[in-house]
Each structure stands twice: as structure tokens, then as C-alpha cells.
Symmetry: C2
Amino acid sequence: MHHEQHVSSSETIRDIVIGMSDGLTVPFALAAGLSGAVNASGIVVTAGMAEIVAGSIAMGLGGFLAGKTDADHYNAELKREYEEVERVPDQEKEEVKQVFADFGLSGTLQQQIADEMAKDKDKWVDFMMKYELGLEQPNPNRAKKSALTIGISYIVGGIIPLSPYIFIDNSVQALYYSCAITLIALFIFGYFKSKLTGQPPVMGAIKVVVIGAIAAAAAFILARAINK
Amino acid sequence: MHHEQHVSSSETIRDIVIGMSDGLTVPFALAAGLSGAVNASGIVVTAGMAEIVAGSIAMGLGGFLAGKTDADHYNAELKREYEEVERVPDQEKEEVKQVFADFGLSGTLQQQIADEMAKDKDKWVDFMMKYELGLEQPNPNRAKKSALTIGISYIVGGIIPLSPYIFIDNSVQALYYSCAITLIALFIFGYFKSKLTGQPPVMGAIKVVVIGAIAAAAAFILARAINK
């Protein structure tokens, strides 16, 4: 029970990281790029909001359907493994033995493992799913929750770089504030993200800031070049 | 050799799918949204190109650094497992036994497996990495190749919905063409993507088209509402 809770909370954090990482970066860079080409903040806000809604739907809904596809795939493979265990048990035993042959266990021991595992069909199939096919059972509620978490995190992340353009009419002036608050937000975000994933936090934070800065600078230069 | 080639080509295809999926959807929806708010295709093209460069850098560079982080994480864990196998071999043996206890093998057999596996330290550590920690050895060249593939696929995908705006000045008229070619492109893309991942292709294609259409419609409605 404790273990499952741990997994579920770390998956939620992973989803927040996925959504917020892109949400902070892409709308920030888009707004910066447009600031280099148009002077009115109104267009930047319109484009930015359109991007945020498009990005959050693409990521959230895309993630939801990918999760559903994973679950369908898992269930189809599970059904097939149960059938194979009934129909060609010797072949399935060979597959179990092969897994252990790869780790250098002797033929005698491989055979014993296969024979003993075959006594409990559920555990046998469970083993094949995990170690032959590398598939983990998907949590049926994950897909929906994951989609919402990613989508909302993208929106929250995207609002931060866009907010100066809402309050400041001159888009170039708004850009300065947007750079300042977004690079700070990216640093804080990168710091905690790295801490959570066990990476050196300051180095991780710098990496996240650099990606955002490069994306924004490239978008700014390209948009200005197109408009000339 | 054959197996590795198979893995590598399927990873490339996965990267193309990741990049192109977002590349077709988000710039399409952003352009559609802006068309509902401004009449000039010039701004749509500028915003769209800024989005494509920002998105491709965020996804490509983000993927590259994530791959590097995975490799660092793997190597750090690998070092720790080698140390633990030297320092606390009995504890590590207990961990091997626990893996097999979970699959219902008898205590005697668990002990035999642990003893035999302990004879070859490389394979023992390899086992712990894969089955206790669930970590696969990352390919050192993957991160760079993956970043490039995702980034380029995003650009290729993004150019498709944007191309009508380059040739047609009236953005509302360009939107019709953009919808037509992008929804066709999403259908073709979704069809092959589903075929490659073993899903029903027509159903998969429809899902991809629906996500794109919802994202574009939402962006269009929101951008129009903001501009009023």
C-alpha cells in the first residue's frame, strides 16, 4: 500500500514535470519570437493563449490516448500469454529458461526454475509479461489523471511567461519582464525537478534555463528575420 | 546483431512519431487560432515559424539532456551495485531471492539461484540493474541521434500546416487549405503510426485526427474570444 502510493505520487510529479517543462519553454519562446516581429502585446497574448490551449490539449489528450493504447496492448499480450501457456507450455518454459541462460545460470537450474514457475499459471504469465516482454501492468485510472495533470501543468507553466504581455502594451518592454520571470521560474523548476530525480540540482537547473534561453533566442532571431 | 538493428530502427521510428505528432498538431492549432483573430497570413507565418523553432529546440534539446541524465543515472547506479556486491553480498543475494519470491519460487530454489548468480559478478550486477531497479543500459549515441530525429520531425510536421499561409495572404482562406492538408496528413501519419505499434490503423488514425481537430478548434475559439 505504501509502495503503491509512492509510485503514484512520483508518477504525478513526473507528469507535472513533463507538462510544466514544455509549458514554460514553448510559450515563452513563442512570445519572445513574436515580440521581435510585432510591437503590440495583444497579438503576442492571442498567439500565446492559442499555443497554450493547443499544446495542453495535444499533450494531455495525446497522453491520454497513448495510455489507453498501452492498456489495450498490455491486455492483448496478457491474453496471448495465457493462451500460449495452455497451448505450448514447453515452448513457454524454454522462454523462461532463456531469460536465465542470459544471466549465466546452469541448464539444470534453468529447468528447475521453469518447472517450479509453471506450477502457478498466474505468476508464470506475470513473469513472462515483465521479463520476456518488458511490460508493466498499466493502472486503469492513470491515463485520465495523467492527461489532466500534464494538461494543467502545461497551462500553469505557459501563463507565467505570458503574464507580462497581458499587463504591458509594448511587447518589447513586456519581453524583458517575461525573460526575467521565466528564467527565474525555469531555474526554480529545474532545481526541484533535478532534486526529485536525484540529479545535481544547480547543474540541472542551469540546463533547464539554457534550453529555454536558446529556444527563445532562436525564435526571436527567426521571427525578426522573417519579418524583414 | 540483427536484434540490435531492429531495436535501433524502432527507436528511430518512435522518435519520428514523437516529433511529428506534436509538430503536426501544435503549429496547426496555433495557426488556426491566430487565423480566427488576425487577417494577415504574415503574422500567422511568423508566429508559426517561431513556434516550430521553439518547439523543436525544446523537444530535441530537452530529449537530448534527458537522455544524458538517464545515462548518468544508470552509470551512478551501476557503480553503486558493483560496490554493494563487494561490500554487502549477502544483502544483495537477499534482493535476488526477493525477486523470485515474488514469482512464487520456493526458498530452496531462490537460494540456489542467488548462489549461482553470485559466481559471475558482471551478470549478477546486470540482473540487479534490470530486474531490481528496472534500468536498461542506455546507448551512448542514442541521446544525440534521438534529439536530432525528434527535432527534425517536429520541423517537418510543423511546415505542413503552415505552408498554405506562406502562399495565401488571406489567413482565413489559408486556414481552409491548412485544415484540409493537415487533417489528411494527420490521418496518414496516424494510420502508419498505429500499424507500426500494432494497433488497429483506421481507429488509430481517427484518434490522431480528432486530437488535432479539437486542439485547432479550441485555439480558434479562444483566440477569437480574446480578440473581441
